[in-house]
Amino acid sequence: MDRNQITKWFKEPAKMANKYSLHAIYFCTGCGIIEVPPVITARWDAERFGVIPVATPRQANLFLITGYVSVKTLKAIIRTYEQMYEPKYTVGFGSCPINGGMYWDSYNTIKHLDKYIPIDGWIAGCMPRPEAIFIAVTHLWTLIDKGMANAYVRYRENYEFYRRNQEMALGKLEWPPLYPIQNNVRVVENA
């Protein structure tokens, strides 16, 4: 443990514990997941950074979206994200969640993932190397320290807009809203 940080531990123990125990949910979309097995196993060993994969969204607080998101996957991503406990952090991995990447004119791929769920940070590249995941994790530490990794707060505050965008892409959603929705937003049906 870094001795310079010991005051931080006394001031905000919960935040520090959160920061050093990022549990990533096992969720594979697209091809980016191919970089994750070397990251979590002995070659790069993500546990040095406190990142370990966990099986269920209830145990996780880091959501890595690894690769292109199809319309069907978006539904699963939203359900997984809404099941995670706060504080929760999302990182888009690879160029496809950012703007569609090489699937920018595909009929069945979601182009901008941040229109549907909030994202804390992006890792650009196609593919990013496994080292990029660790750089992202250290950046995420800085953001958490400064209180800027607040995507889940943005989700709560702008939930009606996110929900409306989700319904525009997926049609009528089968599950009830996570947060109460004020009626000042027009909800598009059967978009």
Partner: protein, 170 residues
């Protein structure tokens, strides 16, 4: 072996055109009425594995081309040991304005997902198929998305481009 299959096909079916571009490829062009008979015939001649059904949209000729790729396990047997696996490709054309075809699931039951996939991506109805529902896609498309007259860029612009970003809403 190729020669015997070629001769047999040409003697039994009149409209058939058989070409052998390589040692391990036999291409059979045939009218759509005879496809099921040819497939049955080939299945009895030990081409008993349907590897793939594919579809090509020849929009200028106003036709769809269905491609059935058959293969078998003859090269594993004693008499043909050491030979390479032979792929037999059956091609047929159906008119574009009437995208209908008979199902081959009664001959090859593993054709079911292939036919469902072609149904959702090209809109070809396979008559007699017991479960002709979309395989992967969840959205409704006006034109099936793999047809050549489906404009993906316009579709993407209209559907995904019109969804506003959350920051602009505040």
């Amino acid at each position: 072996m190729h020669k015997s299959i070629k001769e047999q096909l040409e003697s039994i079916f009149k409209s058939v055109k058989v070409t052998v571009p390589e040692d391990t490829r036999i291409i059979v062009n045939i009218k759509k009425a005879h496809v099921l008979a040819v497939l049955r015939f080939l299945k009895d001649r030990r081409f008993d594995h349907l590897a793939l059904i594919s579809c090509v949209d020849w929009i200028e000729e106003k036709e769809f081309e269905l491609v059935f790729i058959l293969t078998g396990y003859m090269h594993c047997d004693e008499e043909d040991k050491g030979q390479e696996r032979v792929h037999l490709i059956v091609k047929t054309r159906i008119p574009r304005h009437e995208p209908r075809f008979e199902t081959v699931t009664e001959i090859f039951s593993n054709a079911e997902p292939y036919e469902r996939e072609i149904y959702e991506l090209f809109g070809i109805k396979f008559e007699g198929h017991k479960r002709l529902i979309p395989l992967f896609l969840e959205r409704d498309y006006e034109i099936p998305p793999f047809r050549k007259d489906f404009d993906t860029r316009r579709y993407v612009k209209e559907v995904f481009g019109n969804i506003p970003s959350v920051e602009n809403n505040k």
